[in-house]
């Protein structure tokens, strides 16, 4: 089952892409073996932004360690915080108040929207269309403004804490979300006209970077990248958390397995996230936004695992506790790490120019991979 070993010929060209390269969206270093224009092998070298967050967390308390996780997948920072908070809550056996649950889901979905918008702009830029990048940032800015009002920051929110959320939502929150939805509903059709129906874009993505369902599972892929190959892996549906089981939404699955299928999954997810936000925004229950917890949190001895669906896939937080105030060992199962491992398999036999499209549809965020 392992990948065929590539023997380098004399005619082969070995090029380094990165660590500083615009198409890697971060400090990722790829060593590519080329035969003419055809990719024979891609070998990722990681660690340029490795901060050893797992080791750092071993000396931070259960309230403190959550802040480091905003810096992993910085486009899904709410969702990262959410997963950690859930894992600690499991250990403390704290019930999160309904108001906090709804706020959390709202924030998660807005984050997902912002993340997919940025991905859409960046992918279009990678395959040669520059305008979408500016359009995507215009809409993303609105979400960032909403976040700034409620959370105080635009990127590393640290808004979810064990027991609920850190502060109540800003009085303007609902109004501004409504404004955003009304705005983005018109704009997403524009996105489709501009890129989805664009024949050049379709030629660049259809039939490119194919990965079968079996391979996607074997590589441990998750999130929209795996759902593009027909894998059922939406954690929100399979293992519902917070209020996801009470919401009306369907898991989006495409069977194409190529770049275009992965693209379509994310486009549909944007519409789906908008519908989830719409279902909740006027139905935020009254009550506390945070459950009462002790000042110093102590988890009982044992192992705790929680998983959420980030914009990139399944994030798992695995805490081993020895009963103290700090975790004995903590492991972040990051979606990007597994998705990246499939890159070599997906690019073999493809053209070097298409590799950029394949990487774009995998939606890699390097700090998430390196941790």
């Amino acid at each position: 089952m392992t990948e065929e070993v590539v023997i380098t010929d004399q005619d082969d060209l070995i090029i380094n892409v990165g660590p500083q390269h615009p198409s890697t969206h971060g400090v990722l270093h790829l060593v590519i073996t080329l035969n003419g224009e055809t990719v024979k092998k891609v070998e990722p070298h990681l660690g340029y932004i490795h901060r050893s967050i797992e080791k750092m967390c071993e000396s931070l308390t259960y309230r403190q360690f959550i802040y480091t996780t905003s810096r992993m997948d910085y486009l899904s920072s709410h969702i990262n915080n959410h997963c950690c908070a859930m894992c600690v809550e499991k250990g403390l056996q704290v019930e999160v108040p309904p108001r906090a649950q709804v706020i959390r889901v709202l924030m998660d979905e807005l984050t997902r929207l912002a993340s997919h918008q940025l991905w859409w702009g960046a992918l279009a830029m990678d395959v040669g269309a520059l305008t979408p990048f500016f359009l995507a940032f215009r809409e993303r800015e609105m979400i960032n403004d909403i976040m700034e009002e409620t959370c105080g920051t635009r990127l590393t929110m640290n808004y979810m804490v064990p027991g609920g959320v850190m502060a109540d939502i800003h009085p303007n929150f609902q109004r501004r979300v409504h404004e955003f939805l009304a705005h983005f509903k018109r704009k997403i059709d524009e996105y489709d006209e501009l890129i989805t129906d664009n024949i050049i874009f379709q030629n660049r993505t259809k039939g490119i970077g194919f990965i079968s369902k079996e391979d996607a599972i074997s590589y441990g892929m998750s999130g929209p990248s795996a759902r593009g190959s027909g894998v059922q892996c939406d954690i929100r549906k399979l293992y519902p958390y917070e209020v996801y089981d009470k919401l009306q939404f369907k898991e989006i699955i495409e069977s194409g397995g190529d770049c275009f299928a992965r693209y379509m999954v994310r486009m549909k997810e944007m519409k789906q996230s908008m519908s989830i936000v719409e279902q909740l925004i006027d139905n935020i229950p009254e009550g506390d936004f945070q459950a009462k917890t002790k000042n110093v949190l102590k988890l009982p001895k044992g192992e705790f695992y929680s998983r959420v669906e980030t914009a990139r896939g399944e994030l798992g937080v695995y805490i081993i506790s020895e009963g103290g105030t700090t975790p004995y060992r903590i492991k972040f199962r990051s979606p990007g790490y597994s998705n990246l491992s499939a890159l070599d398999h997906m690019t073999r036999g493809q053209k070097i120019g298409d590799m950029v499209a394949i990487m774009g549809t995998l939606d890699l965020v390097i700090p998430d991979i390196d941790r």
């Binding site: 392992t2 070298h45 660690g47 074997s218 590589y219 798992g316 790490y337 491992s341």
Partner: protein
């Protein structure tokens, strides 16, 4: 299969396997199995191939340093049956060795490389066991081990 059914099946196949009770993960219906390092590869093959197990999704691979010994933890789930199992294997701290499962689940290749550099665990018959995250010159230093000391960047509270 439910937790109990899995337990009976695995005891039949591997009588030496131990089971952990209690804890949050078993409350979620996950079976925690303790197995010797030598029995891991045959167990892994059975878990993947037997249609009643069909554990095809290896979603979390990690090492843990328990100071007296190391252990490897594998989280597996089945995309058809939707049951989850956690396999743990104790390793000798001075000479940690375990068979690689990269040919069974391809995701293991990267994850085992991470465990190799962070904990110094040797994966036998791994296709390409090299440093992945750490730069050159870090062979033999294992930063995730509890006794690792870095005089420059050590974080301690």
């Amino acid at each position: 299969m439910t937790r109990e059914e899995l337990k009976i099946k695995i005891t039949e196949l591997f009588p030496t396997a131990g089971f952990e009770e209690g804890g949050d993960t078993s409350a979620a219906g996950w079976l925690n199995v303790q197995i010797e390092a030598t029995a891991w590869l045959p167990l892994a093959e059975q878990l993947k191939q037997k249609p009643e197990f069909h554990f095809d999704y290896l979603f979390c691979v990690t090492g843990v340093d328990w100071k007296t010994h190391l252990s490897m933890v594998y989280h597996l789930t089945s995309t058809i049956h939707r049951h989850t199992i956690v396999i743990k294997s104790k390793l000798d701290r001075n000479n940690p060795e375990i068979e690689s499962v990269a040919h069974i689940w391809r995701t293991a290749e990267f994850n085992e490389r991470e465990a190799y550099e962070m904990f110094g665990i040797k994966f036998l018959h791994h296709p390409d066991l090299r440093l992945l995250i750490l730069p050159e010159g870090w062979e033999g230093k294992n930063p995730m081990r509890k006794d690792f000391e870095d005089p420059v960047n050590m974080i301690r509270l």
